[in-house]
Symmetry: C2
Subunit: 366 residues, 2 copies
């Protein structure tokens, strides 16, 4: 292999594939980046066997070939080289020489024959989705994924497709987050569970604009095609919770409140809640005022927030961390909260649309 | 005590005095901020018995008094309150009420009678120094302070005053840093050792402009007066190393080099040096080229930097971390390096002036 390429572009591409490389892997070859040069292109791959990222860039190929180089060291070297052209050469003894202006590095490469191939997900039909739409869906649900390794399925999100509508659903046993969006085409319904780690990486490479990317789903894998980059992930196996059953269809009281005012009051109240280590904040909903209180040995706090109330009074308590996480990512100025009793879930919704739904279990109080 | 003050100003002032409060103290009262309201002013103090910070702000005092409140909690509460007016009230049972708009916190205060007084450093005469001058002196030497707790004196810096000249000197056994500056007046010579932690805090409150601040030195303490803020610190006791003896007066070769080019080459070479865990980079100085090399099991690197050389050739090795730390804070475009042999110290200087001197011991190589 012998190539010449731009330092800046190579450094960007290394950053992309490094996201799929785990430093904790027990297979040393997976700590490497796979490079393959042919037809004026350099292909880069990172792979941790659950998720693989493949990307491509233009380069001058004097001699075609393949190499696997330690990802961390390769990334650091390329990042520190001057913004110029870099030559990368592999000799027959698997020694790599990286040259750039007055710098020359010689490194041992790993055996590229040992590198595991990415699973092939060759689909003829792709879902077409606007990048910003899917990015928002991930951002507004991914925080509610479970971190509990004994429930592997809840460490992913359900992606449900019905005609040209899709939803992402995350549940961790205490709360549920749903966010919906549109697909640009309609190629059939589907229901898969995508690992949270993959969704975080997809979020990272998606842009904020309305450019369209492609997605394919097989029974075992999902494929995301964004510009020159391909993310392939294993799907999580098993039956996801029937989330629709959990969402109450009726309520006894409905509160309309300014999102930021509520967030700031809960954040302040949680300063004392934290001292008590249980994160507990109490709500007293009455007469168009929401009173938030919290107590610990060191003191107590009383916060008042103006609301519009429909229905009865209620006293209910929450883990403040869960409320804060939801209120921080909700983008609408006002939200609606629906309550039934102080032991049944609270629903948080957009005032006008149903594009997101959050459900939160209360903490039982005496 | 009963006061009303601005949220923003109080939050700023808390930030300043918190720097003197250690969360690791064994005296619970020292985890608090001392507040004293009188004559339209609020005084705030933080103190860890080595260093104390006192600052003042305007406020409306309805009732004079003193209180000590848990620093972390008080700081977090004030920071999270809206940008408005805050009322702070202490009752006879030592309960503090903090009110602001729709928020009310009740906290237990600590006994203000228990709070240790700051040592009084009342001097009639003060050294007058431009803030930016002393700030630069600290910034360009403080990295060379020893972190070795068995050598407490080297965890501080020597401040030496001769007429209207002053120098800060840091030594850690492998390197030495000296930076000099002017005093605006001349009130007598002095030689004290100031703890590194204090210098870091003084650096933080000094601005980048040429405003003058005041400094007083007694046999046990130093006092820094910057605007409304007073930093009082214990001095370190003992005889500081006679650093002038260590600095060689002659050299066999002198190298003039661009600071950034040298820094970047050493940073790249150190990527492989780090792999070998000894940080070792080798210099070969010959014919107006400085060749930097480093080896480890994983590979090797060869870097070339153009220099102007006066004198003989030399092969010498350094710990790359020490070189990188010096080159990162040197502000001049070019530096001069003076060498004698490959076992004697290297001197790094400004090309034109003698306002800074760095000395670095080489690593012995075979």
């Amino acid at each position: 292999m012998n190539i010449v390429c731009s330092q800046k572009e190579l450094s960007n591409k290394i950053n992309i594939v490094q996201k799929a490389i785990s430093s904790k892997t027990t297979m040393p070859i997976l700590k490497g980046i796979y490079l393959e040069a042919s037809n004026g292109k350099l292909k880069l791959i990172g792979n941790d066997l659950e998720m693989g990222i493949e990307t491509h860039m233009d380069c001058e190929v004097t001699k075609e070939g393949k190499a696997v180089i330690d990802s961390r060291l390769f990334g650091e070297i390329i990042k520190k080289l001057p913004e110029s052209f870099i030559e990368i050469e592999l000799d027959d003894e698997n020694n790599i020489t990286i040259s750039c202006e007055h710098s020359e590095f010689k490194l041992r490469a790993m055996d590229s024959m040992e590198y595991p191939q990415l699973p092939s997900v060759e689909e003829n039909e792709y879902y077409e989705i606007e990048e910003s739409v899917f990015k928002d869906m991930i951002k507004q649900t991914v925080f509610a994924i479970s971190q509990d390794e004994t429930k592997p399925l809840l460490m992913g999100e359900l992606l449900e497709i019905n005609d040209s509508k899709m939803s992402l659903v995350a549940i961790d046993g205490y709360r549920l987050a749903i966010k919906s969006g549109d697909i640009k085409n309609s190629i059939g319904n589907n229901k898969v569970v995508i690992p949270g780690k993959t969704l975080n990486e997809v979020n990272r490479i998606l842009s904020l604009d309305d450019k369209v990317f492609k997605m394919a789903l097989t029974s075992k894998h999902a494929l995301f095609l964004v510009d020159d980059t391909k993310i392939i992930t294993r799907l999580l196996e098993g039956e996801f919770l029937n989330y629709k059953q959990i969402i109450p269809s009726e309520y006894n009281l409905k509160v309309k409140v300014n999102t930021k005012s509520l967030l700031r009051s809960i954040e302040r109240a949680s300063l004392l809640a934290k001292e008590g280590k249980n994160n507990l904040v109490k709500f007293l909903i009455k007469d168009n005022v929401l009173v938030i209180t919290s107590n610990s040995e060191i003191g107590n706090v009383h916060e008042e927030v103006n609301i519009e109330l429909e229905g009865e009074d209620l006293e209910i308590a929450f883990n403040s961390r869960y409320l804060i996480e939801v209120l921080k990512i909700v983008e609408s100025e006002e939200i609606v909260m629906e309550f039934s009793t102080n032991v049944s879930p609270c629903i948080i919704k957009n005032v006008e649309f149903d594009d997101y739904i959050y459900l939160l279990l209360p903490v039982r109080i005496n």
